[in-house]
Symmetry: C2
Subunit: 253 residues, 2 copies
Amino acid sequence: MFNKQELIDFCETARSNYLDHISIDCVVFGFHEGQLKVLGLKIKNEASWYLPGGFVMKDEPIEMAANRILKERTGLDEIFLQQFRVFGDPDRARPHHDMYKDMLPPEENWFSMRFLTIGYYALVDFVHVNPTPDGHSESCTWYDLTDLPDFKLDHAQIIKSALDTLRLQLNYQPIGYNLMPKEFTMPELQKLYETILDKKLDRRNFQRRMLGFGILNRSEQPRKGGAHKAPYLYSFDLKNYQNALKEGLKGGW
Amino acid sequence: MFNKQELIDFCETARSNYLDHISIDCVVFGFHEGQLKVLGLKIKNEASWYLPGGFVMKDEPIEMAANRILKERTGLDEIFLQQFRVFGDPDRARPHHDMYKDMLPPEENWFSMRFLTIGYYALVDFVHVNPTPDGHSESCTWYDLTDLPDFKLDHAQIIKSALDTLRLQLNYQPIGYNLMPKEFTMPELQKLYETILDKKLDRRNFQRRMLGFGILNRSEQPRKGGAHKAPYLYSFDLKNYQNALKEGLKGGW
DNA sequence: GAGCTTGGTGTATTTTGAACACAATAGTAT
DNA sequence: ATACTATTGTGTTCAAAATACACCAAGCTC
């Protein structure tokens, strides 16, 4: 992955720019053709995949760091990003600690350090993402959540944890604004929910409930051209959507 | 707070034992006499309060660190502890950075570092806690959530955030096992919910719903001795309770 | 035991969620 | 054109859950 000189350069840069011991990993969810996808980076010449991640600059708020990291990988700005958990097992990056141990002594070697990683998940509009690999990656691409490649370290666990959080979120927050295109049909939105929950939902009840939230605007024009009956197009009412994000969807107690 | 020699000693110990840049702060909730309480440490000779917190040892899982820290402050073991958020604003501990700047140069001064703090909240049984101040604190005591003293740094915000999380949690997880004594009456449990939610609940409906969760055992013997009608005593059915923690209380979608 | 307070339980009403059936539309095959 | 099919839109019924409310029981004070 790195030769010795590259390693030395990287470690020097890292040491002077980033906070020790802390990294950020992002689980980027996208939705396309009825499938929930995750963005993964493939390492050059290896069957190794990682989540897009990075480090926090010494004087940078962590939310900003997560946004910066994500922008580099997706080209997207102003992404819906949510911190969901810190992974702090001392052994979580053990395989990395020994990786370059022959090239640099531990006190100079950035990778020999223990790292806690702050997990963020992002919901993005699939078609607007421009997946961009970094220098050490062969590719940055979407993977079906149901058919993930071999993510290294604890990254598979991080993805699982992000998905659990997302499913929970669904119960008290609106979702979809960041995953759907501007305009979409009700069945398309339903498909998103069904995919996240891995569960069939009733068409009519879904629609009623969704409309009941008051976060959708129905367009005058139905979508034409497809086979079968032309469905209505909806878009999110951003104002109500934002409000629902804050207030939550249902009372609970 | 520290004189120069103490500071030097502390920084040396800290540097060799703890991870840089990372701290843990615990919001410890207790419940007593119808009031939700938070544990706070008061600094000697200052009108300054802090949450019980500490640092992560170099080879210690963060959950273990949180437990250790809490044990040192409360004497309690095996506490219900939940990570809820990382606070990572670069300025969040700004007041600390300058505190000892005349005593030690920044590169030796532990307190001049930026710290991210991992917020945990704990729910504990008030009567079993024996709040114990550490060496730098004048006192470790309970404060009414409605009447907090002047918490420094962003600790007031951390408390607020913990409470928000707790309220949300209430909707899909059972709560109370860690906050209530072994045996309690239904009105007492209701009071806990009302306090957390800051909201009156209907006596009968609360009871029905609570019993519906199937996590309570009613004792044969009602509590005697008090004035008025003797209420039944309940305890949590630990097995069902644990299960409800995992599965969640209501379906949602 | 009258009066007060607190705790236990039942019932009617409203609201919400789940299940289900039929009508409308746009293409396709004939 | 006409029948057919796949898909979407909508209404209605039934059951379950949440809500509101009223009454009885028990123990203490006086």
